[in-house]
Symmetry: C2
Subunit: 340 residues, 2 copies
């Protein structure tokens, strides 16, 4: 009845994933997944006078693309659940202003897309909404200058640092669509896990413990293990964080099948691309890879059941300046291809 | 079935409000509602080395007080839905780290407490959670230096400015409790409304249009009018914003009974208190007044059905510096006293 175990939602009516869309910036477009996005912009300002306004415009376009692909009018959207990395989630708020639909603002750092699906799934499954747009965005240039340094400084980035992805993803959940390719079946809530990482250039290490905790919690609640999924995709641990996750899971006695475990931040850039160091990060990373590459693989029949685990590093410049460590959180949802 | 009209959730199982608590700072303690809070701290740092850590500690204590009053162990809490005004909602994230329960981070600016009840109500009503803590906090000194000026500058504040309330409120929703004083019956989602206000010292004007929109939407969805409620409490419009709301509602043809319409930001401070100008504001304003004064009035049998409308101003220092206006959003929930 809606729940299994300690922190897993069961979506009994299996809300349909009626449509999805992804938009990415120029650098992401040049990466190995460039061909899987619905649109790649050559202009990382999306025609706007600032990167922040550009990010918001990218997000708005992504939601509209998702609706267009779904054949649903904006006026029929019952709610937009959305968030981003900027202070007071301005990319989402201003996109929601342009869209005009009811808006539920979320903040889960880079886990936000999955938090939106987790909550949106329950609201649609429970009959509170007949449909819901779940979306998230991030932008390298807005995140870098907010969290780290002015871009003009050209700071060096250590090998463990990650590159905030300029991209967004959007999904339309629909409680009445019976013909969709895929459905949402379960969601597992994350909790805040702190391994006392303090290096803001080592986000994979800050988030990996929360991801391990949520995967373990999900398996325990569901009575499942890794081989029950064709794929487990983490959000943006990067390749160092992915290695740490494998170690953490193994120490907890969870059999890890490395073939089934990918990280969106590790997949979105190639090693040959300059500057990305440990890989991609940002709300838009898992959002765009899910709504691009992964849903394509499901369409092609290659994936039948996948677990998406979005993770966020819970910090601000203020918390770091005040000596706080960087705890993480991870939310998860299960997406299944409908049997035909 | 879970929904009525365009944007109103119906909580068919009427989740119980099992317990609630409020904690306020020294200035709020000296105000007219000082005696209605569960605790008033003489120390606005709550023993911590910074205001930000103090705000987080206040929020944590408020949630623990709520659980204590509810007779529920922290280990039994299924989820904490929570947010605040700080960048990356650090007050909530770090409080959630201390609490250890699953955490769903929300950002609705000053509407966050009501957004938490709106979403938490659906998750409990729908059987996804058997209980949920819904909470929010704000702190004058953390908000002032983040949004406006360093406190040390001693900037003058115009008459329309509001004073961010140092307080927090927490409610425990419980899907199985049949003996609670009150229940949650409905919730109405807000949408982003922009009347092109650009003055960050005139938040009441920025938010009043969204409040009018949500009240009108709620009445329309429900087929109700103002006299169906003993009280309609807005979050933090202040006394100027309240006047604007009355004008906006009247222009929309909604009969306003001023006796039934209060604003928490207008009630929490007295006119004799220095510096508060147009009244209180902040996530903690509606949260602490709801979980203090208003629930007491319900306990005393004075209120039987109330509509809470929390409103948020959707802006950041960056959006204002980039010339953006300040749109608002308002979410609403209905709380009813159980018939005995």
């Amino acid at each position: 009845m809606g729940r299994v175990g300690k922190r897993t939602f069961v979506y009994e009516h299996r809300p349909a994933i009626r449509g999805w869309a992804s938009i990415a910036g120029p650098k992401e477009g040049q990466g190995p997944l460039g061909h899987t996005f619905d649109a790649v912009s050559e202009d990382d300002l999306w025609g706007q006078p600032s990167w922040e306004k550009g990010e918001s415009e990218m997000l708005r376009q992504c939601v509209e693309k998702c609706l267009e692909k779904s054949g649903v009018a904006l006026s029929s959207v019952q709610a937009v659940l959305c968030g981003d990395l900027l202070n007071q989630i301005i990319s989402s708020s201003f996109a929601a202003r342009a869209l005009g639909a009811p808006f539920l603002g979320l903040y889960g750092a880079c886990s936000t897309m999955i938090e939106a699906l987790l909550i949106g799934g329950a609201l649609v499954d429970g009959g509170y909404l007949s449909n819901a747009v779940c979306a998230a965005s991030s932008h390298f240039s807005t995140a870098e200058r907010q969290y780290r340094f002015p871009l003009e400084m050209g700071c060096q980035r250590p090998p463990s640092s990650q590159w905030t992805v300029t991209a967004s993803g959007s999904m339309l959940l629909d409680g009445e669509d019976r013909d969709s390719l895929a459905v949402l079946t379960h969601g597992t809530m994350g909790r805040v896990v702190d391994y006392q990482i303090t290096d803001a250039n080592h986000m994979g290490a800050a988030m990996a413990p929360a991801v391990a905790d949520t995967i373990q919690g999900h398996f325990s609640d569901m009575g499942r293990e890794m081989r029950d999924y064709d794929l487990i995709a983490t959000g943006d641990l990067g390749h160092i964080g992915r290695e740490l996750l494998i170690e953490l899971l193994t120490r907890r006695g969870i059999a890890v099948d490395q073939e089934r475990l990918i990280d969106c931040g590790d997949s979105i850039f190639s090693k040959a691309q300059n500057d990305v160091n440990a890989g991609g990060s940002g709300c838009g990373c898992v959002a765009s890879v899910l709504c691009g590459w992964l849903m394509r693989r499901m369409e092609e029949g290659e994936l039948h059941r996948m677990l998406l685990v979005g993770s966020g590093a819970l910090m601000s410049t203020t918390s770091s300046q005040q000596g706080e460590s960087i705890p993480g959180i991870a939310h998860a949802v299960v997406i299944e291809r409908r049997k035909r």
